[in-house]
Symmetry: C2
Subunit: 347 residues, 2 copies
């Protein structure tokens, strides 16, 4: 989270806008909170350029609940949906979907150990598919699509949990975009769903009401008490993003951050990143040391230098730097400086 | 929320335990957050005396998601479940359940306009029922069960969203207790589920993984990123409750608060509460004025005196005072003082 946003939240945590209460305590149906909710939606629509023909939903839970909600809302029980497997999150999404729909895996990058994405022409979904699902950015492998798939007449569905708001995105090319909040939006426990209204022809029977997009759209995401604090925090983040210059400015900043770190890795001979250059992630940069036995030393010394959260995911090991929107360029400069110094001493 | 808890959260909002980060930013799988999560569970178990044979789950969303999760986890698709209708929340629970199970309404208090609860002997669930569901406290009607139903061999399921932690409760008499957090636990977006493990024989096919109690129990509610900030806040509330003397102390305090307010209403001739005396809620006290046209004046003057959130629910109108755990006795004294003064001037 941007420090400026946390400081703003702290300043009014016990007395929100002179109400004498915390924003956590006010009614979600009262005018003050409804104004917060509406402003957050309006700012997100403005940032991403979301057409009026799309709902913007603020839902409970993370992306995992949406892995089920997507087939429940967009596919009948006998339908087939196309999925692309480019790593851990793709795999979770399609694994959950198998409980609700026939899953057709159009491409699976296991052979490259998830260091590549499929060629664009491999992603033509069969005409009868309910939708084509992909994961534009994989946080663990650090692999990112450098293009937007064109599935023809089939709606394109994207799990943007780890990449939303990092750059502009042409929303109109997607049927549905969803994102758990905890990377670039706000606190965990909130998911944003942006869905083309005409795709919602009624969720199938057996869909929990809270996961029904059409009903949530009708009720402006207030079918039940929403995660009000997370929604409020998301609103502060959206306003902060606008103050930073919006998504074009974030894209420039994120590209510079990624360029700096990959450049340092590639120039070193001591550090390595396994991902094919054209699909390296701007958000998550995994890297290894030439001498893996130095990794604990690297992590300990980095921590002592104030550089935290550099452990690779427990499933793959190594190191990983996450460069989400809230990470300033100075943070990456500090990391690169530390890496050079570490290489000088141990390389 | 107790002010002391909000102040504690504010003090460490940008730098949690010297981490240089907010608790919203740390990994839910890291040792520091896992310690928070485990302490919260341990404190809740201690406060309520939850036997080891029960899971205590911290789940995304509010009670509404559980309205679906309960039949999905405790009943087959052809099963029947018994419900009791004592007001708005009961009705929502059984309405959602109808999407998943045959609903047998054992008692319906519509005839009294939800100012009563059924007699205990009306609540014997038929032997084949998957469970008996009831709502111990109805927030809108302000009606509360003065007894715990005895459904015989059938598991008892209770929506304690608005009454949990207000007094001791014999958990072992329940198969499942659930509660949305936003009344007596913490911020919205978290639900606590306390369920006897032996009742979980696998959720039915078509259950979203995040709603599967057995899987969530196995993963200590970390199947996916949980609502970490809400969980942390709940932990602070549990510790505060222990410092207050635990649930016996809260019961004494809550009874005194309710006694004071109902006493003032009954003594007045100017104010009235419609609920049968033996089942008046400790938590939610709806009341009307003898002259309903004075209600807007009452609310405006109350607000000017710092007494807020006194509007009755939009579905019933009138006034309502909610006396959740965080409301101190002094708050009720101030309300009663204002009510006497208002009656003196307008009565």
């Amino acid at each position: 989270m941007p420090l400026a946003v946390l400081e703003e939240a702290r300043a009014e945590l016990t007395d929100w806008r002179g109400s004498g209460m915390s924003v956590m305590e006010v009614s979600h149906r009262g005018k003050p909170f409804v104004a917060v909710a509406e402003a957050a939606e309006a700012d997100l629509r403005e940032l991403l350029g979301v057409p009026a023909s799309y709902h913007v939903l603020f839902m409970h839970g993370g992306a995992t609940a949406q892995f089920a909600a997507i087939p429940l809302n967009l596919a009948g029980p006998d339908a087939t949906a196309a999925y692309v497997n480019t790593g851990a999150w793709s795999k979770k999404a399609l694994g959950e979907a198998r409980g609700f729909v026939k899953v057709d895996v159009l491409a699976d990058e296991a052979d490259s150990r998830y260091t590549t994405v499929p060629r664009a022409d491999a992603l033509r979904a069969p005409a009868g598919s309910a939708y084509l699902h992909y994961t534009p950015n994989e946080t663990i492998g650090g692999v990112e699509f450098p293009y937007i798939p064109d599935p023809g007449p089939v709606p394109l569905v994207a799990d943007m949990s780890s990449t939303i708001l990092s750059r502009p995105v042409p929303v109109e090319r997607f049927g549905l975009i969803y994102a758990g909040a905890q990377k670039n939006i706000g606190p965990a426990g909130l998911a944003v769903v942006i869905v083309r209204k005409e795709l919602l022809r009624g969720a199938r029977p057996g869909t929990p009401t809270v996961l029904d997009y059409a009903l949530q759209g009708q009720d402006r995401s207030m079918l039940n008490t929403p995660p009000t604090f997370a929604w409020y925090m998301a609103g502060l983040v959206f306003r902060w993003l606008k103050e930073q210059g919006g998504l074009p400015a974030m894209a420039a900043r994120n590209e510079a951050k990624a360029h700096l770190l990959y450049g340092a890795i590639d120039a070193s001979g001591f550090y390595a990143n396994p991902v094919a250059r054209e699909c390296r992630s701007w958000m998550n940069v995994p890297f290894t040391l030439k001498e893996p036995e130095l990794e604990p030393t690297f992590l300990t010394q980095a921590r002592a230098a104030g550089l935290v959260n550099l452990e690779g995911h427990r499933s793959v090991g190594g190191m990983r730097a996450s460069l989400y929107n809230a990470m300033p360029l100075e943070g990456v400069e500090a990391l690169v400086g530390f890496m050079r110094e570490f290489e000088r001493r141990h390389g």
